[in-house]
Amino acid sequence: MLRISDLNVHYGGIHAIKGISIEVPRGKIVTLIGANGAGKSSTLRAVAGLVHKSSGSVLFDGREIGKLAAEDIVKAGITMAPEGRRIFPHLTVLENLMLGAYSRSDQKGIARDIDWVYELFPRLKERTWQKGGTLSGGEQQMLAVGRALMGSPKLIMLDEPSLGLAPLLVKEVFGIIKTINDEGKTVLLVEQNAYAALKIAHAAYVLEVGSIVLSGTGEELLRNPKVREAYLGG
């Protein structure tokens, strides 16, 4: 569904992503794991059109989207829940969700998706008129994921959804990612919590300073001694 080939990203003089290639098959969960600064978030941002790509191609459903602007990539069917949640603090929960549907005009579909998101996250429904900034960290994360779902994506990219959450909430968030995937959405997941991510991923890539050093199915990597040592604590 999504095929990234030979992607390069430079920030000023820093070569942040060094020619990586990633394949995300339809209906699967694919995860990128790696340490801080490995280039995981940069990869997602490059796909979303938020950072400039020096070279490389991004094929989505057979169509080249590497040169498109961010808003056209959303229209093509890729949305993102950015790192650090980045919800809109002065807008209500409902207004946040409606902005997620900014590029859509099918009122019926939007209403249906609001119901669906509220079903996935009953807590958001309770707080529908509350300002985003007054939510707890976990609720904000749910809002960020819900907002990305409101764009009716074929592929949803989640950037560190478990960041800063209590262990119980982390479990809940990963459960929801599985649910979203079961309902037909393809997921590209970036995580530092390698164990939890690999457990639900169909395929995984390990990034180190801008390059892919390992890839395989989630289970393969869970068993891989190098991965165990570097990311899973032995």
């Binding site: 950015p82 809109f88 807008l91």
Partner: protein, 349 residues
């Protein structure tokens, strides 16, 4: 819900009626000085609302308001000045066609003044709206200065440093408050719409807004151009109100005054802007007494011109230090709150 909406429309209608009655009374009973202050309040509210849309709601730190006002003021003045008067006034060089002969009724002149300012908003928006934060402030400040210097140096259009005099004083309480209410209506509708939420989203987090598929440049441009339009309208009304304009008038202090109202009222609060517009305009006049000579016993202190701006700047400093969100923060007036005020008082008794 619907009954409440109806009630709010009625209450708003009543409030507008009370304002109209007050203006009618003021026009008959107040002296020229007080009426002038009432007029300035309306113009300042228009200007501050337009800057609040740009800065408070969209987060574009624009310091170019004086430039848009100058464009509006000159456009409107050249349109309402009779041709003969223009020929008599341009003593350095004769006025250039079509500026020498163009003429329009007052309402149309204001509208055109706004549109020309909006056009300039589009032209400078393309290069500068790609900048963020402080850079945008500097670029727009530069724009306003360019307008001022150019106005000084095209005597065949603007009569140069001599400025325009004897502009027909059409601007009165009705025109000013009419435009003020129109501005208020347009900006409230805009901010409460989905587009308003989009602007707030861009202000709060541009990257997240782009990730939602929002064309941030286009939205910023729209907000900037609407703001420029009303700044032009405000400048046009101001020109006809004080009947004399020259390039010197449109310096940074003018932008600063408007910015002061916006910040004191609360960035992103329409109610705050209206309140601060009233309070600051009145205070700016009232504080003139600090510029008068003071006699304490046998000691006589000379009045210092410009002292009120010092007092004002200090006041602004305190607002920023102790209540940096302004009078209202981001809150807004609504009828529920207003009615609740009476209800609570009634229960207490």
């Amino acid at each position: 819900m619907d009954a409440k909406l109806k009630r709010n429309y009625i209450l708003t209608g009543v409030a507008v009626l009370i304002l109209a009655l007050f203006l009618f009374w003021a026009g008959k009973n107040l002296d020229g000085y007080k009426i002038q202050i009432l007029n300035l309040i309306a113009v300042n509210i228009i200007l501050a609302l337009s800057l609040n849309l740009i800065y408070g709601f969209t987060g574009l730190f624009s310091l170019g308001h004086a430039g848009f006002m100058a464009i509006g003021a000159y456009t409107c003045s050249l349109l309402i000045l009779p041709a003969a008067q223009k020929h008599a006034m341009y003593i350095l060089q004769a006025p250039m066609w079509p500026f020498s002969v163009m003429h329009a009724p007052f309402f149309l002149a204001i509208l055109i003044a706004g549109l020309v300012a909006a056009l300039f908003g589009i032209i400078i928006g393309f290069p500068v709206l790609r900048l963020g934060g402080d850079y945008l402030g500097i670029a727009t400040l530069g724009f306003a200065e360019i307008i001022r210097v150019v106005a000084n140096n095209i005597p065949r259009v603007t009569n140069g440093a001599l400025g325009l005099k004897g502009i027909p004083p059409y601007s009165n309480l009705w025109w000013n408050y009419g435009w003020c209410l129109l501005t208020l209506y347009v900006i409230i509708r805009l901010v409460k719409s989905n587009f308003g939420n989009t602007l707030k989203a861009i202000r709060d987090d541009e990257v997240a807004a782009r990730a939602m598929g929002i064309d941030t440049f286009r939205c910023r441009m729209t907000s900037f151009v609407i703001g420029a339009f009303f700044a032009g309208v405000g400048g046009a009304l101001l020109a006809s109100l004080i009947t004399t304009i020259d390039p010197k008038m449109f310096n940074f202090i003018l932008t600063f005054n408007v910015l002061m109202i916006v910040v004191a009222g609360g960035l992103g609060s329409i109610t705050g802007t209206v309140l601060a517009g009233v309070v600051i305009t009145v205070l700016l006049e009232w504080l003139r007494f600090v510029e008068n000579p003071v006699t304490i016993g046998s000691l006589t202190l000379q009045g210092v011109p410009g002292m009120r701006m010092v007092v004002f700047s200090v006041a602004l400093l305190f607002i920023i230090l102790f209540r940096h969100q302004g009078i209202m923060g981001k809150r807004e007036f609504n009828w529920d709150w207003f009615l609740g005020l009476f209800r609570r008082r009634g229960e207490a008794r």
